[in-house]
């Protein structure tokens, strides 16, 4: 396996988050296809010959600048999610990525979860027939709040991206419900209409802590189709171990970040686009913006048919 050189750029994120230190750096370090060759806070070093991939977690004010500079320097990019705070910024990144033809992978790593992969493959193989509904829950117990950004921007796109990965059907309208997001209790309900009349209801967000749960308390998808029904529970697979100190689960397989990096490696070395690109990140952000509008107005908001959306996407 060819080893790709990785430059770590920045260590910022939504709220308290530092995905670079917590997820991507350890992920690259553990993956046989990558070697970390350096780190930068100011976005320098993009001209280094030993760098193939830049892992971008710079503050949002500098996302567009740093990602596009890396791409223009001929480097592939892994970019933390959300890629940007606005769809307009994301569209700029998407345009440069398209121009350069390089891999620019937004880190929606949950779609690489084995349960979601299995669901996606089963659906693509026609095992449930033509899909007409998805129900999804993505609930994280505890952890620091990402206010003022909110879980609509932080967690919900993981779930909506997974729904897209499973069904391949873009969202055409959204009705969203949320309670004021000022504490750790921040749940959003997204009622989505997709192409082909498929509907979905996606619940995502953060709840108060639960004893014995570290992270996701519920992460699952139900896919209904003309010929069958599929349940995928992404809090599995796992063995359950119960002991004096409590209950935990474990599994020997690779985690979602590792699997995402495998896709990044394959796309770079095969010279093909990654299965997930800046246009997916753009779709996710347009959905977030439409959902915000729905929460503010109490109305159903359509995507893709207003002038602004067209302008952003083109």
């Amino acid at each position: 396996m060819r080893t790709l050189g990785v430059l770590l750029a920045g260590s910022a994120g939504v709220g308290h988050q530092d995905h670079q230190a917590e997820m991507y750096a350890p992920g690259f370090a553990a993956h046989p296809g990558f070697g970390i060759v350096g780190a930068t806070e100011d976005g320098s070093g993009f001209d280094r010959a030993d760098v193939d991939v830049v892992s971008v977690c710079v503050p949002f004010e500098r996302r567009v600048e740093v990602v596009t500079a890396a791409l223009r320097a001929g480097k592939h990019v892994l970019v933390d999610k959300p890629v940007a705070l606005t769809s307009a910024e994301c569209a700029e990144i998407a345009a440069v990525a398209a121009e350069t033809g390089l891999v620019c992978l937004p880190a929606y790593h949950q779609r690489f979860h084995p349960a979601i992969r299995t669901a996606r493959e089963a659906v693509a193989a026609g095992r449930v027939g033509l899909t007409w509904n998805v129900q999804a829950d993505f609930l994280v117990a505890g952890g620091g709040p990402v206010w003022p950004y909110g879980e609509l921007l932080n967690f919900a796109p993981y779930a909506t991206d997974a729904v897209h990965a499973i069904t391949g059907l873009p969202v055409t309208a959204v009705y969203a419900l949320a309670r004021p997001a000022e504490g750790p209790d921040d749940l959003v309900t997204l009622c989505l209409t997709h192409e082909r009349g498929m509907t979905s209801t996606v619940v995502a967000g953060r709840t108060p802590p639960i004893a014995g749960v570290n992270g996701l308390s519920l992460h699952r998808y139900r896919v209904s189709g003309s010929h069958g029904t599929l349940l995928a529970d992404a809090t599995r697979p796992g063995v359950t171990v119960r002991g004096e100190k409590g209950t935990r689960t474990a599994w020997a397989g690779h985690g979602t970040v590792h699997r995402m990096l495998t896709e990044l490696h394959a796309a770079v070395t095969d010279g093909r686009p990654a299965e997930l690109g800046p246009t997916d990140a753009l779709a996710a952000l347009l959905l977030v913006e439409a959902a915000r509008e729905s929460i503010a107005t109490g109305r159903v908001v359509r995507l893709g048919d207003d002038e602004q959306t067209k302008a952003r996407v083109s």
């Binding site: 129900q135 419900l177 309900t189 209801t201 619940v203 108060p208 639960i210 139900r222 209904s224 109490g298």
Partner: protein
Amino acid sequence: MERDSMSNRPLGILVVGAGAIADLHVAAVAADPRCVLAGFADVNADRARTAAHRNGGVFWTADLAEALARPDVDACIICTPNDTHEDLALRVAEAGKHLLLEKPLATTVEGADAIVEAFARRGLVLAVAHSHRFYDYGRTVHDEIASGAVGRPTLVRLALLGGWIWPDWRAWVIDPARSGGHALHNGVHLLDLVTWWIGSRPVSVYARGQRRTATELDVHDYLEMVVRYDDGAVAICEMSRAHRPTALAHRDVVVQGTGGLLTLAWDGEGALLWDEKGAHTLDPGVAYGFAAQLGAWLDAVTAGDAGTSVSGEEAAMAVALGVAAERSMALGVPVEVQ
């Protein structure tokens, strides 16, 4: 009410409408010593006669007025199609009898209010057969929430998914003029249950419906109804007759609260069967729920204890939610609850 509690005679129950669901009510009546089956009234005389013969040769008639005039009839259970509930219930109230009425209370908000008012005015006991409140799962979830185990509910999911059960195009259930539409027919079960669980006031409904079994259907075989409550809680209710395979009997419950998470797994009743046709969850049956439901109504009738019976006001709220859901589906927008 005094008359019943002072005489030792068990309460005489007239069953109005001797169709599919009547059997479950009759079995519950047979098992409760406080009441006795007084007879059947059904516009279809054959049905009334057959039901009477099968149940020890009790009185039967095709004329409700004749049945209501009998001195041994103290109370009625109405199990007729939804569009007949309003007229029949008002006649029962007029005759001074207590009533256990099948859901939905009525197919319109005005009809529901008229029934509630008629029984309240005469001091008669009206209970509505929101039977899921009496199933063990429904009560367990309610009691956990009521005990404070998960704090205040912020998000509830309830899904009842099954395959096609409607016999053919002649079934009244798929005629919206007769059933009120699927949100009023089966949807009210879920709308009532989640509202009882959450315990606050519903303010709006956004509902989406699909017609998966046949595009020619006049009702939606799949419903996705999202209710918002005045304290910000959200309930997602899915009712389906559209899922495949038809043998699917899938129930899912999630309650996220300010202090914890409750889940009831799809195989939560604990028994699974694999056979040549695949895997099946084993349903413990609904009989115990119908017995508990009858018992709660009899508590109210004989002892004036409204305890767990489902009041007309609560059932009227379920009707208002069902009507809002149907309107939301027709208009494609969220609708305020009347």
